[in-house]
């Protein structure tokens, strides 16, 4: 049986591992390579690493750092941050990264997705959609939540699917870092929009939140930042991840599989 994926999402800024709240106040939480080593030991399902400086500063992806990360990473790795061309995506895959995530560049120029799929294959093209809830709708934002995209999420999902994306990640800016649970309405709404593999990010504060997400959406990716880097109410830094047994139990319960 294909299992839901439980995915730590690491944010990198100035070479350090950080965690934000509502896309603001990046708090330094350690060294990314060290975190990757711990997630290796825990046999993590998959890892997302996002460089949150690259797009807003307009810089190229830091290929040297990505290569270093990929060399350490023993689980499937998705990298995002500053990718604007299919050539960059190809170079990143060649460094040993399974999936390349794009957000701002693909929302502004959806044709980028077709070009990326042509170079690295659809299965390695991930679109991240950052969203803020405004009244009854979710607004799409780009450039780290600083610019309104002027497109609806329904448009972005449809364009991404038709042009060759292999996965959609929806990221709730409102829930980011709050650890109060996923926006389940957003998750189920997105699930109905597409048959692409889907990953939900933003808001997980406990393994129970992940259980609720899988209950609501079935086999999806449940991604989380704070949950896997902080421990306790005072947000002490502690890289953590549930054991294989614990993950199996979460999946069994949330999908109501026989014991």
């Amino acid at each position: 049986m294909l299992r839901p994926r439980i995915i730590p999402c690491l944010l990198v800024s100035n070479g350090g591992l950080v965690k934000t709240v509502g896309f603001r106040e990046p708090k330094y939480v350690g060294d990314p390579i060290n975190a990757v080593k711990i997630f290796n030991e825990k046999e993590t399902d998959e890892l997302i690493v996002l460089d949150i400086d690259s797009t807003s500063s307009g810089a190229e992806p830091d290929f040297k750092r990505i290569g270093h990360l990929a060399a350490e990473c023993r689980m499937p790795l998705c990298y995002g941050g500053g990718v604007k061309t299919a050539e960059q995506a190809k170079r990143i895959v060649a460094l040993g990264v399974e999936k390349v995530a794009v957000s701002s560049a693909a929302i502004e120029t959806p044709q980028l997705l077709a070009r990326m799929a042509g170079e690295v294959g659809s299965q390695s093209v991930v679109v991240i959609i950052d969203l803020r809830k405004r009244g009854p709708v979710w607004e799409v934002w780009t450039h780290n939540g600083t610019r309104r995209a002027g497109k609806t999420m329904e448009q972005v999902v449809a364009e991404s699917a038709s042009l060759g994306a292999g996965e959609i990640v929806v990221n709730s800016i409102d829930q980011d870092g709050r650890m109060k649970g996923y926006d389940l309405a957003l998750a189920t709404h997105t699930r109905r929009l597409t048959t692409l593999p889907l990953t939900i990010l933003g808001g997980a504060g406990s393994l129970e939140d992940i259980e609720r997400l899988i209950e609501a959406c079935g086999v999806v990716g449940a991604a989380a930042g704070s949950l896997f880097v902080f421990k306790g109410a005072y947000r002490a830094v502690l890289i953590n991840y549930p054991s294989q047994e614990r993950r199996d139990e979460i999946i069994r319960r949330s999908l109501r599989l026989p014991g």
Binding site: L2, R3, P4, E46, R74, E98, Q123, T195, P197
Partner: protein, 203 residues
Amino acid sequence: MITIVDYGVGNIQAFLNVYHRLNIVARAVSRPDELRDAEKVILPGVGDFDHAMRELERSGMRPVLDGLVLERRVSVLGVCVGMQLLARSSQEGSLPGLGWIPGEVRSFRSTDAAKSLAVPHMGWNDVRPARTTGLFDQLADSRFYFLHSYYFHCDRREDTSATSSYGAEFASAVSAENIHGVQFHPEKSHHWGVRLLQNFAAL
């Protein structure tokens, strides 16, 4: 010694890392003359079928590979698209494959029942080996990481060496004598993958 064919397609470094940790000598080669004396060959691959086939031809290593595998009967392991290249053709493209194992590569979307299936098949799935010897020694109860939209359909049932379920049952591994292929990524499948790559080295 394990030789990994580096034709610009696939995650070479991840294989080297696994073998390094296992203390098994492995090297990546990108020229025909380096490949000639290979004892055991891994053919990786990701992305588009035609692109992979074209790059393999362009590397100049195809004739040497044919000689190694078909005449000298060196063991070869195709991984992901590297496995799909073992077939004679793919619905993904128009170029012929290597044709080493009779079969064709089909799309998960090719049946009506699969219209609602999330494609690509992405994530961790169970792999049920036909026999727990050789490549699947000690891997009776195993799971591996998959990332693909097409699968291998064998002409001969006996060439399917492991199956997995996604919509329907499909061949997650194929084997015919010295030629093996796995659809999943052992290089990124934690202890299960390490075991499989170790088993391949011991064949």
